[in-house]
Symmetry: C2
Subunit: 208 residues, 2 copies
DNA sequence: TGACAAGAACCGACCGGCCGGTACAGTAAA
DNA sequence: TTTACTGTACCGGCCGGTCGGTTCTTGTCA
């Protein structure tokens, strides 16, 4: 097995353990066991716990960022492009469709990214700095849209709020409300199920 | 000093330490030191770490819940009452006004509540169960508003998303954007600065 | 082709420190 | 006398980190 494969395997195992048994169980020993690797093997790829956590964050963060940015680039309609990309990437239209065509991220990756971010913030404030930079850039670009910037930001915030709810157990993916919220948000930014540039029935002119 | 005063002192100290040095530094020894109490003193009031964490969560949660519910009860205008209450309680109009008239919560309490919730979720999933119950009840009541339920929920979610952003360092209270977001949200639910039942210039009919 | 050196990838026993928790004797106030 | 602590000493476990060693892979050269 190549080095990169093992690294990925470790990152995924770390999140799997954290998701199942809580963030505190993301110890070197547990992660090693979960990944089917020895502790020394983990330490070989990530010389310290901090580097493991930031490595995990980077691993998931890159996947999310790539997907979101590509969706924006592919979207012909500039209006609400940012928020629409986030929604289609982070909310699969229906919980059951595991599309492998690369048009959306699997819940595992999305939740993993979230968990990794919280894990980083918990372990040491310095670890989220790279993520912070990415977030700030994204924020700035989104807000540079003169008309709809703030409105899109609110959609983004709502999505993140939903993650927080999930984290503290206030909502679960399989609840009907979860899909309802996704539908309302999607409607707000004109993201139909399969027609990205579709016109929403709901969102009237909200701004100004 | 009475027992309850000491309990409060310990709870506040726990959050102070966590906010300053990270969640992991919320150890029994550190909390005791921060509170100016011996470790035995902490263990006297909270027989275990779990009980300390859930006690802290309860301490801050009660303050937030009380304030939010009272605001709702005092509001003569039923439309968007829930979301409006949250906003006025959790977003002070301007960062500098420390009103002691009890019309809003201090940022310390709000952030403390947030930190406590995350701390509980991190330490052990079971600890947030009481908070979960409160949240679910609140959610249900809010959604029972047939017209504006989901719209208010989005405001709530955005507020929580903003907390998450704060936690991972994506935004700070003193940034102009923070106040801007507050203003937009307040406008959406018709919460003017000092006229709770005011009509917003922005939020048109969004629903249906 | 095959022997072999060299480094990359990985193993797992071990260590020191910290953390949650216990035990208990003492004390000041109500 | 009860309540509300203080202070100290201690324990067992876990966790991050170290280290000497092993196995796998790859390039080199006769």
């Amino acid at each position: 097995m190549s080095a990169n494969e093992t690294r990925s395997k470790i990152c995924e195992a770390a999140i799997r353990a954290a998701a199942r048994d809580g963030l505190l169980s993301m110890t070197l020993d547990n992660v090693a066991k979960e990944a089917g690797v020895s502790k020394g093997g983990v330490m070989y790829h990530f010389p310290s716990k901090d580097e493991l956590v930031s490595g995990v964050l980077e691993y998931f963060g890159n996947q999310v960022e790539q997907m979101v940015l590509q969706r924006i680039a592919d979207d012909p309609n500039p209006r609400f492009r940012w928020a629409r990309s986030m929604l289609t990437c982070l909310f699969p239209d229906s919980p059951s469709d595991n599309k492998t065509d690369g048009s959306a991220l699997s819940p595992e990756i999305v939740d993993g990214f979230m968990l990794a971010a919280i894990a980083a913030a918990v372990n040491s404030p310095g670890l989220i700095e790279p993520l912070r930079q990415v977030g700030l850039r994204l924020r700035q670009r989104l807000l540079s849209d003169p008309e709809d910037g703030l409105e899109q930001l609110l959609v983004w915030l709502a999505v993140d709020g939903l993650f927080l709810w999930q984290f503290v157990g206030l909502i679960r993916r399989d609840e009907p409300l979860y899909a309802e919220i996704g539908a309302v948000l999607r409607a707000k930014v004109g993201a139909a199920s399969n027609v990205p540039s579709g016109r929403s029935a709901i969102s009237g002119e909200v701004q100004r």
